[in-house]
């Protein structure tokens, strides 16, 4: 293409139309990548909804699992999941936030601290089944908690702890140093500064991280299978030492049954699980946008 402007004397070969065509090509390719991902995801969700929606009736939430599909429900799985995330949060939150505070506010900046930090980050990437084996050895057998919801929650707490610590540290680090100095310069002690400023200002970020960690815990299956969470429970969960099952295990159980109705029940279970996860993630986003302080 010949230039429109006078000083095109042949020392440059701009080939503008070719470059523009290349640009357009890559724009289309990236659009295709997004579209493909979205289509696959929509087909999956659509398929599940079409399969399972007619089973989403009140009995589905109030009935125990059963040999008869029309009498089967998520009652014990919902109870188990609820118990498990409550206990997990109860145990993991204080430990995770405490560790994050220590690492960010108190720990000296030396080799040992950095070693601990790197290993916590590594733990976040350890396959979840490993935590299951640890839980089986340590809590189920070692502490003799059996295959209880408490043992499952402790295993799950270990699993989400690294995620919580890492996100907690990020939230704490986002509090500007100048605010700590302002507090200390007024004669506040280090703990008063943490308690009155660092923690409250970091809390939206910490809570966001906690919610995301919990939504991870709700979806996890492998470690709970490893510690032997039962799939077929026909009694109400009354205490932390009771046997339990959770949503993904119940779904897994139904999928493995041959009858077509059970496949549809599994789809209905997935709809419930996805609904819970999406709501939690939405809550985390809302929390982050509404409460986070803009410095």
């Amino acid at each position: 293409m010949n230039g429109l402007f006078a000083n095109e004397d042949g020392r440059f070969a701009p080939r503008l139309s070719l470059r523009l065509r290349f640009g357009r090509l890559f724009q289309l390719l990236s659009l295709a990548a997004v579209t493909l991902g979205l289509i696959v995801l929509s087909v999956l969700i659509l398929d599940i909804i079409l399969n399972g929606y007619k089973w989403l009736r009140p009995e589905f939430f109030t009935e125990f699992p059963s040999r008869f599909p029309e009498k089967s429900g998520l009652r014990s799985a919902l109870q188990g999941s609820l118990w498990m995330i409550s206990l997990t949060a109860l145990m993991a939150f204080p430990i995770g936030v405490g560790a994050a505070i220590y690492l960010e506010e108190y720990a000296p900046d030396n080799g040992l601290t950095r070693f601990i930090e790197i290993n916590i980050a590594n733990l976040a990437g350890v396959p979840s089944i490993i935590y299951g084996l640890l839980g089986l050895g340590l809590f189920v057998r070692g502490l003799e908690l059996g295959r209880s919801v408490l043992a499952g929650s402790m295993t799950m707490a270990l699993l989400v702890l690294p995620i919580l610590i890492v996100s907690g540290r990020e939230a704490i680090r986002a509090v500007p140093q100048s605010v700590r100095q302002a507090s200390l310069a007024l004669g506040a002690t280090q703990w008063q500064t943490i308690q009155n400023h660092v923690l409250p200002y970091a809390m939206p970020g910490i809570l966001t991280g906690t919610i995301l960690a919990i939504s991870r815990a709700i979806g996890e299956t492998a470690p709970l299978i490893t510690i032997g969470a039962l799939t077929y429970i026909r009694f109400d969960l009354k205490g932390p030492l009771d046997l339990f099952t959770v949503l993904p295990i119940q779904i897994f159980n139904w999928v493995s049954l041959p009858k077509a109705e059970f496949q549809q029940l599994a789809a209905a279970g997935i709809i419930v699980l996805l609904g819970v996860l999406f709501s939690l993630n939405a809550l985390a986003i809302v929390l982050r946008n509404k409460l986070q302080i803009r410095w």
């Binding site: 302002a182 310069a185 007024l186 004669g187 009155n196």
Partner: protein, 260 residues
Amino acid sequence: MFDKHEIALSVKNLNVDYGDFRALENISLEIPARQITAIIGPSGCGKSTFLRCFNRMNDLVPTARVTGEVLFYGQNIYDSKVNPVEVRRHIGMVFQKPNPFPKSIYENVAYGARINGYKGNMDELVERSLRAAALWDEVKDDLKKSALALSGGQQQRLCIARAIAVEPQVILMDEPASALDPIATLKIEELMQELKKDYTIVIVTHNMQQAARVSDYTAMMMLSKEGSRAGTVIEFGPTPQIFTSPRDRRTEDYITGRFG
């Protein structure tokens, strides 16, 4: 040098080291009470480090080591019996960039008093401090508003009110107006003239006009010798003398703009 003034802070043979790096070397001077003392000098000569010796903020830097004495009305604040937390209530600080807490205006002022166990009427203290910082009339109707919604100049006066509320004797100011526009700067400077009736003020500034305008005494800092990175005070005296007839050649070069 100042027989008519009481001495608030007396610095004796002060050195500051960050690990192996000497930042301040052999500083000795006396800061008069209820006067404004300016610390001037080129960038990187340790003005802020020196200022932070007065309220032990350097303690927050893990590698920092302070040797020598800083006597506050006769008591060495670096004595092992003295806790920095206690020092900081008596020697307040205003920072370069306004740093209000992301809380209400009221809460910003009340915070320091509350943690230090103030027993009086909090509403009165907040009003008194905001009046002293010349901010009351602008904010009295929305004390519950977030401090982050104020303008930069207002935020800095809020930080001054917050410092005043714990009733310190000394207020340290680290380039308090360098992030502000000229009008807000003028307000801060006027405010300092009011505050010096009750408080000893030490201000770091790299604006020499500002030092000449507002201060009663001036400390000129510079690297101690060619090639060294340690700062020291090369000349200290009444501001008019420093600016009209400095004794040190380097001070003269600096204030006349031949250097720095």
